[in-house]
Amino acid sequence: MVEHAEIRMVRRGGSKINFREPVITNDSRFLLCAAGESVNVYSTSTEEFVHDLQGHTDLVTGVVLNPSNHLQVYSCSADGTVRLWDFMDGILIKTFIIGYPIYSIYVSEKHGGVVFVVVPMANYKSSELFQLVAVHLPRSGDQEVEARELSAVLCDVSPHPGAVSFGREGEYIAATKGLQLEVFFFKKQKSYRFSLKSGMKKGVKNAFTCVSCHPKEDCIATGHADGKIRLWRNFNQKKEYTYTTLHWHHGAVNTLCFTPEGTNLLSGGIESVLVHWHYTQENQKDFLPRLGAAITHIAVSPDGSLFCTSHSDNKITIIQSCVKVSAIIQGLVKGDGVWTDLIIDPRSKALVLNGKPGHLQFYSLHRDKQLYNLDIVQQEYINEEGLDQFEVVKAAFDARGDWLATVEERRKKGAELEINLKLWAYDKLTQSFVLNTTVTAPHEDRITGMFFSPSPETTMLVTTSLDDHFKAWLLADHSDTKGKLASYSEGFWSCDFVGGYHLLKPGCCSYSADGSLLAVGFQEVVTVWSPASWELLTTLSQPPGAIRDLCFGRLSCSKYLLGTSTKNQLCCWNLLTCSLEWSTPMDVSLLQADPLSENMAAFCSQSGSSDLFVFKPSEPRPLYSQKALCTGKVQHAVFAPRDQMLESCEERTQWLNRSQTSAQLTPLSRSLPQLLHTPAHVLPSASFLCAMFVRSLLVSRSSLCLVGWGTLLHSYFQVSPEMFDQVQVRAPAAPLKDIQRLVPKPILRFLGCVLRVVVLLQGEPSPQSENRL
């Protein structure tokens, strides 16, 4: 039994991997990218996560290879340190303390022992002014060194990492900001400034967005907000500089990159097309179209064989020999919003939410990996700003995971709402969902709720909409039709019932656990229907306040119906007597029923922060409460099942994952993470480790079962909408003996399952550094 009751937070990933330019190592085997507070190392051939470099205490803002040792890498962070790593073994070699938050880092072969970093101007700490400084890294044997030897190179530079670039063999450095290009020659210790006129043609400014210097010749390529690329030459004097213009992009040029030999220039922007300009024949260009999302960074491996592009949908694409996409590293996609709520796929136990526009992503919480993307809209995505795109707004799984229902919506300005309801059947052969039925315009207005009936006999879907109706959809029996239709053994969905109540707008609905009752909230009134006969059984009402959420009790509490109203009421009705059992004034923003027990989780927002209560509808006292869970209001929450213990897997990364999970609970395995963080050669033999690890798993498992089941709320994720970098796990372990006594042990072992609550928060203040970048 674990005694500690405090909540521990553990980083769980889900971080942004497209935040900074990725780096490909000299041998092209690994790809390094900044991901939250660590640097992730991926294999370029298998796209698998290898390990991460942990040590920074704030956002990592830049990763560069050490030019003097190709097995080492510098990383800088907003915590004010530059760290030197051995990325092959994942060891921190040195930490240089700068003392100021760092926004980007640049190195050059010519300037050995010096790194160039962008830091805020010392005098104007609060302001938005940044300078490029050279840091002479002291040569000392200590692990942590203070590097105070800073010399300013350029004042007033952009903190954007693409806005500074080293020129031919490090002889000069080019920086852009606004409408100005500044070139600093190290030999002459002199800088030249070139300005552009602010052309306001068609409302697009021609401000600089990025810069890249030719590695062999004196040529600087700059990208502009109006989509033009300028190639500057002869810039070692103030007057007679020249530039030529290349134009293909219609949106801003996000990033530019020369290949190592300088024969080609790569550019990318919102069009999600990688443009490949030939340096010598400037009007010749190649394209690599439809890369998925806007390109934010381009990096080229030092031997020029691999390109990699970062995309705005948290994705890194590795491109082989300019033409072939060879690998895709996909993180958790953070779309424009989470309209679908958080859902757990009953089959894969993956978290399902909005991904790329028009897609649903299946994300494994336990492996921090996107399992797959399901294309819901199935339309060519047009990468252009200001278009009204189809968005997936609702999704629901049936109890066994055989069916997925999705609603997509597109609202044009001043035009009719386009809604499609799609039903997807799970195909065992391809292990994914296949479109079965499309219903165009299932309702005349927005769909507010969509639920499958939990009963195993009938497959029924209920949708509620702002057009004053709710509709029940049933899988039609197609045993009578012949011919063409016979090839579809599944049948199709059709509307079974349309219900309404006094032209009130239905806001929410809920099925009872056995599917025999359906409760639909019509503003202030709760109506209870029988899905078998579609008879209105009773109405319940507790004014004032419209019903916000409805939830049936489960198992022993299945006679209760809980509802929350907008006027801060949590009501519990007894369905046997059709009367109010109890009500309490609480501003419940979210109510969730645990699918495996009778417990309910309610999130209340009080004075700017959210509290969590876990309670049983039949008992007046909450089982568990956590005050001030987070600031802001909880938007989405879901009970997530604990993953089953995996089969013995030999991958080192998997070990690490597993041990971290169990480390929260068992004293034995607590030592394991440290063991695995140290290099392999100083570890005991593998057989010893393995035995120890297996033992730890066994212990942890039994304790997991007991503790986990009892507490129910074992851990939850906390995600801020600004950035998915802050995914944390909290592990409270206050054992609740009452429940343990109630539930027999064999059942516990059989289920072997602990539940988590995944919470998506809004209004969580992100770190200052993130705001500014």
């Binding site: 339309q379 009204d388 006094h502 009773t538």
Partner: protein, 515 residues
Amino acid sequence: MASFKPTKIPIYPKLGEKVTPDTLYWKNYKAPVQIKEFGAVTSIDFSPLAPHNYAVTASTRIHIYGPFSQEPVKTFTRFKDTAYSGKFRSDGQLLVAGCEDSVVRLFDVSGKVALRVFKGHTKGVHVTDFTSDCYHILTGSDDYTCRLWDIPNSTELTSYKEHTDYIRCGTTSKLNRDIFITGSYDHTLRVFDARVEKSVMTMDHSQPVESVLLYPSEGLLVSSGGRYVKVWDLLKGGQPLVSLKNHHKTVTCLGLSSNGQRLLSASLDRHVKIYNTTNYKVVHNFDYAASILSLALAPDDESIVVGMTNGVLSIKHRKSPEEKQEVAGKQRVRPVYRVFVKGRNYVPKKDDFFVSKPVKSHLAKYDKQLKRFNISKALDTALENRKPDITVAVMKELDRRGTLKNALAGRDEQNLSQLLNFLIGNVVDPRFTPVLVTATEMILDIYQAVVGQSSVVDRQLVRLQELVEREIDYQQDLLEVLGMLDTLFATSLPRKEVPCPGSSRPNGLIPTLSH
């Protein structure tokens, strides 16, 4: 690099295109064989004998065709004027035909010259038939009389002059040698018994009667005339049973499918309708190119032969089971390249490694243009397509891309009139209205400056305006009807007691099966 996702063409529900056993049965005919005759085909009759040749009466000839030949196996040309009503005897040996010159001729099917010539009518004879004992001939003429003739003696047996207008149809009973029925332009049907001097039954069709048909049981009689098909119960003394009004022009011909379960009617409106004889609902419909004058079905429905006013004889043969399979086989993919390299009968060996190539997806023409962002060309290629759903889907896709206005703009007179033609044709189709209304508004916005410069475009714009106004009126009418129906339903529904107060709303409890 993901591949280009082609434009989705939505599948619209086909209204009234329910697949029933009837549609499967009646659709199972091959493409029609068409034979041009010298004039309008007024009569077709199948021989009751095995090869089932059929006699086609057109102009001054009677051709006899074999079941699968497109050339006549026999021709009778000894008519002085237009021949009518070539009919086989029940043994298939003799053929009788009337003529505009009032002479009735009897032919041996193998011979050429008329065996017997019956003279006595004073005007053209449109109706001829053999009685069931094979010894007599019934004729009906434009001189308002119908007569019975004896074949061996070639003499007139009886003459009835009860009709007061042309007799244009008639039939003899197959069960009783003395009973026959005639229909006339005086709107009446009369049943005669040769043993009695006068007609035994008279029925009023209230339209000039064009065709009569006796059921095999001879309990029911079907007559057609005007736009009506009427069924009479002879056993109840000629009581009208059903009146069918499914054609919008005169029904000229009637037929019965071989098992007597389906009734066919052909009309000048170019349709052949098939009715179920138990409930007299239309179960299928054939369209033809011209007004139909005659229709006949081969025994066992092996072929449907239709004669039209423009002299075209159209023969549809039933598909044999093998041909049915062939059609299914046609959908199979063509042999792949591998087959040509290795030979047709090459079977992969045990240790052969099968390398699957990615299937190359072929894009439609408009998708190719959309892929290249050639929006105007994409719209042009979509307009060339004859299917409006494809054109509308491309318009929708352009609208989604926000470039519909650009695609519509910059067109010359010819292009614009083509576009307007499409809009006039489809804007009131409820499936396409939401997309096409936005397109129409955009066109009006773009081209309002050039209104008045082209007469073609102006005329089309006026037509479009009329169309929209008519549609608005129509919608208003429909709404009114809907309102009336709602009140009717509301009053007829029983008021239900609901356990809680204030929760009785019958409208909310109407289960619908929409979508």
